[in-house]
């Protein structure tokens, strides 16, 4: 049977290891043979990550969807992954009614699929930076934000809540004891990977609290947690308990707390 489908297969220019299979035209029963040949070649070449770019696909029959599923199975049996990207709203709705979303990972566009490969398969972390004036009212939005991001990136609810707690304690500390000038923002830098999150909080020191920061750098990570009668100093002890690693960098100008939290529980 004749088919209007055109297939282009090329390695990604920007992400090594990813292959883009661009389909153009109607995916119908006449295109099954060409699809099958392409999948056989991609499997033989041991392509680890194939993105089927559906941006120029006008329609897709159930038999052609079955062939895409077959291609996915073929690749996964050889350790590869096949994902779909760039479908228009109508096509995506139709394929989801046929159950495609239960089988395939579907990305909004090619770039999102490539970014996912970057993160999932190459284990490249994603980076977030946030800067806010030293006001205590802003720590709840910051901690909620990073808790949501942690959940989004596959941390369990429990882990995400612990990350929120860490962020809250470290940011509160930076606000309470750091410089109170509106120009001296608290900076939060986050690197989030498949297995861990790293959080770095930096503040400009308040000259009046220099002794406090000195005591932190010299004592808090070496001494036992404060006793029940001590009203202060519990925050960073709590951070130390919840995190996998806490590093503290103090200078006369500023203080940086660097916290690493590994993914523990399944989401």
């Amino acid at each position: 049977m004749n088919s209007s489908l055109q297939i282009e297969v090329n390695p990604s220019d920007s992400v090594s290891g990813a292959t883009i299979m661009r389909l153009m035209g109607a995916l119908d029963s006449g295109s099954i043979g060409a699809l099958e040949k392409s999948f056989e070649r991609l499997t033989a070449e041991n392509n680890p990550y194939v993105i089927v770019d559906m941006n120029a696909v006008s329609s897709c029959s159930s038999s052609a969807l079955g062939q895409l599923m077959g291609g996915r199975t073929m690749l996964s049996e050889h350790g590869g992954t096949l994902v779909l990207a760039g479908m228009g709203f109508d096509l995506k709705t139709k394929l989801n009614l046929l159950g495609a979303h239960k089988i395939f990972t579907i990305y909004s566009d090619l770039r999102a699929a490539l970014a996912a490969y970057h993160w999932h398969h190459e284990h490249k972390p994603e980076h977030i930076e946030c800067s806010f004036p030293p006001q205590i009212r802003l720590t709840p939005p910051v901690r909620h934000f990073l808790g949501r991001i942690a959940k989004l990136k596959g941390f369990s609810d429990r882990d995400a809540f612990r990350i929120e707690t860490i962020v809250d304690e470290v940011c509160n500390n930076a606000v309470e004891h750091g410089s109170n000038s509106a120009d001296h923002a608290v900076d939060v830098a986050v690197s989030i990977g498949l297995q861990k999150i790293e959080i770095t909080v930096t503040n400009i020191n308040n000259p009046r609290n220099i002794e406090y920061f000195k005591s932190l750098s010299h004592n808090i990570f070496k001494s036992p947690p404060p006793s029940g009668s001590d009203l202060r100093g519990r925050g960073l002890s709590l951070v130390k308990m919840l995190a996998d690693n806490v590093a503290f960098d103090f200078s006369d100008d500023g203080t940086t707390v660097h916290v690493t939290k590994k993914k523990r529980e399944e989401p």
């Binding site: 999102a112 977030i128 930076e129 946030c130 800067s131 004036p133 802003l138 949501r148």
Partner: protein, 162 residues
């Protein structure tokens, strides 16, 4: 003697804003968390819920626009700054700029013509900038061709001063 230390107050007058900035990966999945963050930050300064929600809508539309049309490279990031004054929020969202045709479309969408007529004619899928224009008092586009950065700046005024 107990000394109570007074934190320097920002937003004590209309010229000293509280500035919050954020940079995040150019990926649609981040946007719900980003818009909630800004909404919570705005609410924490005592703005009314209607103003807070409208800021959230504006952030959502601008970020969606930036990610969808302004991010090209796999590692593209979107930068957002939110400056809160007593009577208004000033938002700026920057991206890589994207394809020339998308920048032209954005410029077109921000040209000052009859907004009502355009809203009727506009494709339902491309309502983003129209919604921003409807909700905000001022929307400006800045293109820095040398750095390859496109920034949309928005001023949203609050009906009642807090």
């Amino acid at each position: 003697m107990i000394r109570l230390e007074q934190k320097t107050s920002v937003m004590t007058d209309s010229t000293t804003p509280a500035a919050i900035s954020l940079a995040f990966p150019g990926d649609l999945e981040y946007i719900p968390a980003v818009r909630k963050f800004i909404a919570e930050a705005v609410a924490s300064f005592g703005f009314n819920p209607k103003f807070v929600y409208r800021c959230e809508v504006i952030v959502d539309e601008l970020c969606n626009n930036a990610v969808t049309y302004g991010c090209v490279s796999v590692t593209a990031a979107v930068k957002l700054t939110c400056r809160l004054f007593r009577d208004r929020a000033e938002l700026a969202i920057s991206d890589e700029g994207g394809k020339k045709e998308n920048i032209v479309k954005l410029e077109q969408a921000l040209k000052d013509s009859d907004a009502a007529d355009r809203r009727q004619a506009v494709d339902k899928k491309n309502l983003g900038m129209e919604i921003v224009r409807l909700l905000a008092e001022k929307v400006d586009l800045h293109i820095d061709e040398t750095r390859g950065v496109t920034t949309v700046k928005v001023i949203k005024k609050c009906e009642e001063t807090r």
